[in-house]
Subunit: 103 residues, 2 copies
């Protein structure tokens, strides 16, 4: 399970439609369908079911969405914290990056 | 930024040594070094610095580790919730997986 997978699931849950979610995510519909199916296999449960009126979340899907939203929000907040910090301070000198662990 | 990257960073921060962390993670040392360097480039800051006595976290690295631990813990808890659930209930029938969105 990766953050990308969680973001894909949340987009599908939001759009209630794989094709629309794929457009929003700028991925192909088969790629997105595969990612969702792989996630369900990994979790061992169906997160959403297809109906005439689009996708609906299962109880497991509703549970998963709540946790996924929390995790994705925390990760986004962490990334934004560094974006904001870099706006305030000069960019890291190249030599500093060179001093990061090379083993 | 992905959960895998966060787990890699946390292992290096824990071991204070790229080679030992690579052993723990079952990845090569160059792969791990690259992942950490890519993460630092993405964040625009050095998370750790090399010294005679191994790696030490920068202030940004200490900040990042606290948030990364929280995110990885939540993701692990979510995955374990489904593992536990599947122990209690029978595995998902194949046809149910077949009914997951195919687009």
């Amino acid at each position: 399970m990766e953050l990308r997978t969680l973001r894909y699931f949340l987009a599908v849950a939001q759009e209630e439609n794989i094709t629309r979610a794929a457009d929003v995510l700028h991925v192909t519909q088969p790629t997105l369908s595969r990612q969702i199916m792989d996630l369900e296999r990994e979790l061992g449960t169906a997160l959403m079911l297809r109906g005439k009126n689009g996708l609906t979340l299962t109880d497991d899907g509703i549970f998963f969405r709540q946790r996924a939203e929390e995790i994705v929000e925390l990760a986004g907040r962490l990334e934004r914290a560094f974006v904001e910090k870099n706006k305030e301070s000069p960019p890291l000198p190249k030599r500093s990056l060179g001093r990061t662990p090379a083993g």
